[in-house]
Protein backbone atom coordinates (compact mmCIF):
# COMPACT_ATOMS: atom_id res chain seq x y z
CA UNK A 1 0.00 0.00 0.00
CA UNK A 2 1.41 3.38 -0.97
CA UNK A 3 1.57 6.34 1.38
CA UNK A 4 -1.27 8.02 -0.50
CA UNK A 5 -3.38 4.87 -0.35
CA UNK A 6 -2.85 4.66 3.41
CA UNK A 7 -3.74 8.35 3.61
CA UNK A 8 -7.17 7.54 2.10
CA UNK A 9 -7.98 5.54 5.21
CA UNK A 10 -8.01 8.48 7.56
CA UNK A 11 -9.08 12.10 7.78
CA UNK A 12 -8.81 14.92 10.29
CA UNK A 13 -11.73 14.80 12.72
CA UNK A 14 -11.22 17.28 15.54
CA UNK A 15 -8.71 19.43 17.41
CA UNK A 16 -9.09 19.49 21.20
CA UNK A 17 -6.52 21.86 22.62
CA UNK A 18 -3.15 20.29 21.78
CA UNK A 19 -4.80 16.95 20.96
CA UNK A 20 -5.43 16.01 17.33
CA UNK A 21 -8.10 13.43 16.63
CA UNK A 22 -8.14 11.45 13.38
CA UNK A 23 -11.07 9.44 12.03
CA UNK A 24 -10.37 6.07 10.38
CA UNK A 25 -12.80 4.63 7.85
CA UNK A 26 -13.35 0.99 8.84
CA UNK A 27 -16.00 0.04 6.30
CA UNK A 28 -15.31 -3.28 4.55
CA UNK A 29 -13.12 -2.93 1.46
CA UNK A 30 -11.39 -6.13 0.34
CA UNK A 31 -8.61 -4.62 -1.77
CA UNK A 32 -7.76 -2.01 0.86
CA UNK A 33 -7.64 -4.66 3.55
CA UNK A 34 -5.38 -6.92 1.48
CA UNK A 35 -2.94 -4.15 0.63
CA UNK A 36 -2.92 -2.83 4.19
CA UNK A 37 -1.11 -5.97 5.33
CA UNK A 38 1.97 -4.78 3.44
CA UNK A 39 2.33 -1.91 5.92
CA UNK A 40 2.34 -4.19 8.95
CA UNK A 41 5.42 -5.88 10.40
CA UNK A 42 5.58 -9.65 10.94
CA UNK A 43 4.30 -9.45 14.51
CA UNK A 44 1.30 -7.39 13.45
CA UNK A 45 0.54 -9.67 10.51
CA UNK A 46 0.66 -12.67 12.86
CA UNK A 47 -1.75 -10.90 15.18
CA UNK A 48 -4.08 -10.29 12.23
CA UNK A 49 -4.07 -13.97 11.34
CA UNK A 50 -5.03 -14.88 14.90
CA UNK A 51 -8.35 -13.05 14.71
CA UNK A 52 -10.82 -15.76 13.70
CA UNK A 53 -13.44 -13.27 12.45
CA UNK A 54 -12.98 -10.87 9.54
CA UNK A 55 -14.46 -7.77 11.23
CA UNK A 56 -12.02 -7.57 14.16
CA UNK A 57 -9.17 -8.49 11.79
CA UNK A 58 -10.11 -5.60 9.48
CA UNK A 59 -10.51 -3.09 12.31
CA UNK A 60 -7.13 -3.98 13.81
CA UNK A 61 -5.30 -3.93 10.46
CA UNK A 62 -6.78 -0.68 9.13
CA UNK A 63 -6.41 1.18 12.42
CA UNK A 64 -2.79 0.02 12.73
CA UNK A 65 -2.01 1.06 9.16
CA UNK A 66 -3.60 4.47 9.72
CA UNK A 67 -1.65 4.82 12.98
CA UNK A 68 1.58 3.90 11.21
CA UNK A 69 0.88 6.38 8.42
CA UNK A 70 0.12 9.20 10.86
CA UNK A 71 3.04 8.50 13.18
CA UNK A 72 5.51 8.29 10.29
CA UNK A 73 4.41 11.78 9.22
CA UNK A 74 4.48 13.16 12.75
CA UNK A 75 7.81 11.63 13.71
CA UNK A 76 9.49 12.00 10.32
CA UNK A 77 10.49 8.37 10.10
CA UNK A 78 10.01 5.52 7.66
CA UNK A 79 7.49 2.76 8.28
CA UNK A 80 10.30 0.22 8.72
CA UNK A 81 11.81 2.18 11.65
CA UNK A 82 8.50 2.27 13.52
CA UNK A 83 7.37 -0.45 15.95
CA UNK A 84 5.20 -0.66 19.04
CA UNK A 85 5.63 -1.73 22.62
CA UNK A 86 2.93 -2.05 25.25
CA UNK A 87 2.62 -1.35 28.97
CA UNK A 88 1.88 -4.02 31.58
CA UNK A 89 -1.81 -3.21 31.07
CA UNK A 90 -1.63 -3.48 27.28
CA UNK A 91 -1.53 0.21 26.39
CA UNK A 92 0.62 0.57 23.23
CA UNK A 93 3.38 3.13 22.71
CA UNK A 94 5.52 3.97 19.69
CA UNK A 95 9.17 3.07 19.19
CA UNK A 96 11.48 4.49 16.53
CA UNK A 97 14.58 2.37 15.97
CA UNK A 98 13.61 0.58 19.17
CA UNK A 99 13.57 3.75 21.31
CA UNK A 100 10.39 5.29 22.81
CA UNK A 101 9.12 8.10 20.57
CA UNK A 102 8.20 11.52 21.93
CA UNK A 103 4.50 11.27 21.20
CA UNK A 104 1.46 10.11 23.08
CA UNK A 105 -1.41 8.43 21.27
CA UNK A 106 -4.45 6.32 21.88
CA UNK A 107 -6.84 4.50 19.60
CA UNK A 108 -10.38 3.18 19.72
CA UNK A 109 -12.72 1.60 17.22
CA UNK A 110 -16.35 0.58 17.04
CA UNK A 111 -17.84 -1.12 13.99
CA UNK A 112 -17.29 1.27 11.03
CA UNK A 113 -15.43 4.00 12.91
CA UNK A 114 -11.96 4.30 14.37
CA UNK A 115 -10.50 7.29 16.21
CA UNK A 116 -6.82 7.98 16.81
CA UNK A 117 -5.84 10.74 19.23
CA UNK A 118 -2.32 12.21 19.29
CA UNK A 119 -0.56 14.75 21.46
CA UNK A 120 3.13 15.57 22.03
CA UNK A 121 3.04 15.05 25.81
CA UNK A 122 0.80 13.69 28.55
CA UNK A 123 -1.28 10.59 29.05
CA UNK A 124 -4.17 10.32 26.63
CA UNK A 125 -7.29 8.20 26.23
CA UNK A 126 -9.97 8.05 23.55
CA UNK A 127 -13.10 5.97 23.21
CA UNK A 128 -15.66 5.66 20.44
CA UNK A 129 -18.88 3.66 20.47
CA UNK A 130 -21.52 3.41 17.79
CA UNK A 131 -24.84 3.80 19.57
CA UNK A 132 -26.91 0.64 19.46
CA UNK A 133 -29.94 0.00 21.59
CA UNK A 134 -29.25 -2.75 24.13
CA UNK A 135 -31.44 -4.80 26.44
CA UNK A 136 -28.86 -4.70 29.21
CA UNK A 137 -28.49 -0.98 29.92
CA UNK A 138 -29.62 -1.50 33.51
CA UNK A 139 -27.15 -4.32 34.22
CA UNK A 140 -24.29 -2.40 32.59
CA UNK A 141 -25.20 0.76 34.48
CA UNK A 142 -25.10 -1.09 37.81
CA UNK A 143 -21.67 -2.47 36.95
CA UNK A 144 -19.90 0.69 35.86
CA UNK A 145 -21.84 3.80 36.92
CA UNK A 146 -22.05 5.51 40.28
CA UNK A 147 -25.28 6.56 42.02
CA UNK A 148 -25.55 10.02 40.44
CA UNK A 149 -24.89 8.64 36.97
CA UNK A 150 -27.50 5.92 37.49
CA UNK A 151 -30.01 8.50 38.71
CA UNK A 152 -29.43 10.65 35.65
CA UNK A 153 -29.96 7.62 33.40
CA UNK A 154 -33.10 6.60 35.28
CA UNK A 155 -34.58 10.05 34.63
CA UNK A 156 -33.83 9.94 30.89
CA UNK A 157 -36.19 8.34 28.39
CA UNK A 158 -35.98 6.87 24.90
CA UNK A 159 -33.24 8.17 22.66
CA UNK A 160 -32.11 10.64 25.34
CA UNK A 161 -31.32 7.68 27.58
CA UNK A 162 -29.35 5.94 24.84
CA UNK A 163 -27.44 9.15 24.12
CA UNK A 164 -26.64 9.72 27.80
CA UNK A 165 -25.63 6.09 28.38
CA UNK A 166 -23.09 6.13 25.55
CA UNK A 167 -21.91 9.61 26.45
CA UNK A 168 -21.14 8.60 30.04
CA UNK A 169 -19.62 5.29 28.93
CA UNK A 170 -17.25 6.84 26.39
CA UNK A 171 -16.15 9.60 28.80
CA UNK A 172 -15.51 7.06 31.52
CA UNK A 173 -13.63 4.68 29.23
CA UNK A 174 -11.53 7.52 27.79
CA UNK A 175 -10.52 8.45 31.35
CA UNK A 176 -9.70 4.84 32.24
CA UNK A 177 -7.66 4.43 29.06
CA UNK A 178 -5.82 7.68 29.72
CA UNK A 179 -4.91 6.48 33.20
CA UNK A 180 -3.57 3.32 31.58
CA UNK A 181 -4.69 0.78 34.16
CA UNK A 182 -7.46 -0.87 32.14
CA UNK A 183 -10.48 -2.16 33.99
CA UNK A 184 -8.37 -3.09 37.02
CA UNK A 185 -9.72 0.24 38.33
CA UNK A 186 -13.17 0.08 39.93
CA UNK A 187 -14.90 2.38 37.49
CA UNK A 188 -18.05 2.72 39.58
CA UNK A 189 -15.98 4.51 42.25
CA UNK A 190 -15.66 7.70 40.22
CA UNK A 191 -18.34 9.63 38.37
CA UNK A 192 -18.40 11.76 35.27
CA UNK A 193 -18.84 15.40 36.36
CA UNK A 194 -22.42 16.63 36.05
CA UNK A 195 -21.25 19.36 33.69
CA UNK A 196 -20.27 16.73 31.12
CA UNK A 197 -23.75 15.24 31.04
CA UNK A 198 -24.60 18.11 28.70
CA UNK A 199 -21.56 20.29 28.08
CA UNK A 200 -18.65 19.14 25.95
CA UNK A 201 -15.58 20.16 27.95
CA UNK A 202 -14.61 19.94 31.60
CA UNK A 203 -11.68 19.28 33.90
CA UNK A 204 -11.66 16.04 35.87
CA UNK A 205 -9.69 14.63 38.80
CA UNK A 206 -9.83 11.02 39.96
CA UNK A 207 -10.74 10.80 43.66
CA UNK A 208 -7.65 8.69 44.35
CA UNK A 209 -5.38 10.95 42.26
CA UNK A 210 -6.57 14.53 42.93
CA UNK A 211 -3.25 16.16 42.05
CA UNK A 212 -3.56 15.15 38.38
CA UNK A 213 -5.92 17.19 36.16
CA UNK A 214 -7.48 15.75 33.03
CA UNK A 215 -9.03 17.77 30.26
CA UNK A 216 -12.09 15.82 29.14
CA UNK A 217 -13.96 16.56 25.94
CA UNK A 218 -17.00 14.85 24.53
CA UNK A 219 -16.54 14.68 20.75
CA UNK A 220 -19.49 12.56 19.67
CA UNK A 221 -21.62 13.31 16.62
CA UNK A 222 -24.72 11.88 14.96
CA UNK A 223 -22.85 8.70 13.96
CA UNK A 224 -21.22 7.77 17.25
CA UNK A 225 -20.44 8.72 20.82
CA UNK A 226 -16.81 9.53 21.55
CA UNK A 227 -14.67 11.24 24.16
CA UNK A 228 -11.06 12.07 24.87
CA UNK A 229 -9.21 12.58 28.16
CA UNK A 230 -5.81 14.26 28.25
CA UNK A 231 -3.52 14.74 31.23
CA UNK A 232 -2.80 18.42 31.66
CA UNK A 233 0.86 19.26 32.20
CA UNK A 234 1.66 21.26 35.38
CA UNK A 235 2.63 24.20 33.17
CA UNK A 236 -1.01 24.61 32.14
CA UNK A 237 -2.44 24.48 35.64
CA UNK A 238 -1.99 28.21 36.09
CA UNK A 239 -3.89 29.15 32.96
CA UNK A 240 -6.81 31.44 33.52
CA UNK A 241 -9.07 29.17 31.52
CA UNK A 242 -8.15 26.20 33.67
CA UNK A 243 -8.75 28.16 36.85
CA UNK A 244 -12.20 29.00 35.58
CA UNK A 245 -12.88 25.35 34.76
CA UNK A 246 -11.51 24.33 38.15
CA UNK A 247 -14.02 26.60 39.83
CA UNK A 248 -16.78 24.82 37.99
CA UNK A 249 -15.40 21.45 38.99
CA UNK A 250 -14.95 22.42 42.65
CA UNK A 251 -18.54 23.50 42.87
CA UNK A 252 -19.55 20.03 41.79
CA UNK A 253 -16.86 18.09 43.62
CA UNK A 254 -19.35 16.21 45.72
CA UNK A 255 -20.74 14.32 42.78
CA UNK A 256 -17.57 12.43 42.06
CA UNK A 257 -15.66 12.21 45.29
Amino acid sequence: MSTSAARCLWSFFHKAGPVTIIHVDLRPNASREASSLLWLNEEEQARCRQYPLPGPRRRFALCRVALRSILCRQLGCSNERLSFGSSDYGKPFALVDGEPAAISFNLSHSRKHGLIALVPHGRLGVDVEERVSRRDFDELSEAVFGPHEQSALACARGSDRVQLFFRLWTIKEALVKALGLGFTLDVSQFEVPQALHQERISIFRFPHLPEVHWRVEYIGNEDFSAAIAHELPPSQLGDQSLQQLNCNVSERRGIYQ
Partner: protein
Protein backbone atom coordinates in the same frame (compact mmCIF):
# COMPACT_ATOMS: atom_id res chain seq x y z
CA UNK B 1 -23.22 -32.49 34.02
CA UNK B 2 -21.66 -30.03 31.60
CA UNK B 3 -18.13 -28.89 32.36
CA UNK B 4 -17.36 -25.27 33.20
CA UNK B 5 -15.86 -24.85 29.74
CA UNK B 6 -18.97 -26.25 28.04
CA UNK B 7 -21.27 -24.02 30.11
CA UNK B 8 -19.11 -20.99 29.29
CA UNK B 9 -19.19 -21.74 25.56
CA UNK B 10 -22.97 -22.13 25.66
CA UNK B 11 -23.35 -18.87 27.58
CA UNK B 12 -21.11 -17.13 25.03
CA UNK B 13 -23.19 -18.53 22.16
CA UNK B 14 -26.37 -17.26 23.79
CA UNK B 15 -25.13 -13.86 24.96
CA UNK B 16 -22.08 -12.74 23.00
CA UNK B 17 -21.66 -11.93 19.37
CA UNK B 18 -19.15 -10.14 17.19
CA UNK B 19 -20.57 -8.59 14.02
CA UNK B 20 -23.70 -10.67 14.49
CA UNK B 21 -21.85 -13.97 14.86
CA UNK B 22 -22.02 -16.07 18.06
CA UNK B 23 -18.57 -16.84 19.43
CA UNK B 24 -18.98 -19.78 21.80
CA UNK B 25 -17.14 -22.17 19.48
CA UNK B 26 -14.37 -19.64 18.89
CA UNK B 27 -13.38 -19.27 22.54
CA UNK B 28 -9.68 -20.07 22.92
CA UNK B 29 -8.55 -21.06 26.41
CA UNK B 30 -5.23 -19.29 25.91
CA UNK B 31 -6.73 -15.97 24.85
CA UNK B 32 -9.06 -13.29 26.14
CA UNK B 33 -12.35 -12.00 24.80
CA UNK B 34 -10.62 -8.94 23.34
CA UNK B 35 -8.55 -11.26 21.13
CA UNK B 36 -11.82 -12.28 19.46
CA UNK B 37 -12.83 -8.67 18.93
CA UNK B 38 -15.31 -8.49 21.83
CA UNK B 39 -15.80 -4.88 22.93
CA UNK B 40 -15.25 -3.81 26.53
CA UNK B 41 -18.97 -3.05 26.80
CA UNK B 42 -19.92 -6.57 25.70
CA UNK B 43 -17.27 -8.05 27.99
CA UNK B 44 -18.71 -6.20 31.02
CA UNK B 45 -22.20 -7.33 30.02
CA UNK B 46 -21.01 -10.94 29.67
CA UNK B 47 -19.40 -10.77 33.11
CA UNK B 48 -22.83 -9.95 34.56
CA UNK B 49 -24.30 -13.02 32.82
CA UNK B 50 -21.52 -15.20 34.22
CA UNK B 51 -22.14 -13.84 37.71
CA UNK B 52 -25.75 -14.95 37.54
CA UNK B 53 -25.06 -18.33 35.95
CA UNK B 54 -22.24 -19.32 38.31
CA UNK B 55 -23.37 -17.37 41.39
CA UNK B 56 -19.96 -15.75 41.63
CA UNK B 57 -18.72 -12.16 41.99
CA UNK B 58 -17.05 -10.92 38.82
CA UNK B 59 -16.76 -7.16 39.08
CA UNK B 60 -15.17 -5.37 36.09
CA UNK B 61 -11.97 -4.70 38.03
CA UNK B 62 -11.77 -8.40 38.95
CA UNK B 63 -12.47 -9.47 35.36
CA UNK B 64 -9.63 -7.17 34.29
CA UNK B 65 -7.26 -9.36 36.30
CA UNK B 66 -8.33 -12.51 34.44
CA UNK B 67 -6.54 -12.35 31.08
CA UNK B 68 -7.62 -15.58 29.38
CA UNK B 69 -10.65 -17.85 29.07
CA UNK B 70 -8.57 -20.60 30.70
CA UNK B 71 -7.93 -18.30 33.68
CA UNK B 72 -11.64 -17.50 33.83
CA UNK B 73 -12.55 -21.20 33.94
CA UNK B 74 -10.05 -21.75 36.76
CA UNK B 75 -11.50 -18.78 38.65
CA UNK B 76 -15.06 -20.04 38.23
CA UNK B 77 -14.17 -23.57 39.33
CA UNK B 78 -12.45 -22.19 42.43
CA UNK B 79 -15.12 -19.66 43.38
CA UNK B 80 -18.51 -20.70 42.00
CA UNK B 81 -21.04 -21.91 44.54
Amino acid sequence: MASTEERLRQLADENLEVDGQPIGKLLDLGKGLADLGVSSMDAVSFAKVIEQEFNVSLLPEKAGEIPTIGDLIAYLEANAS
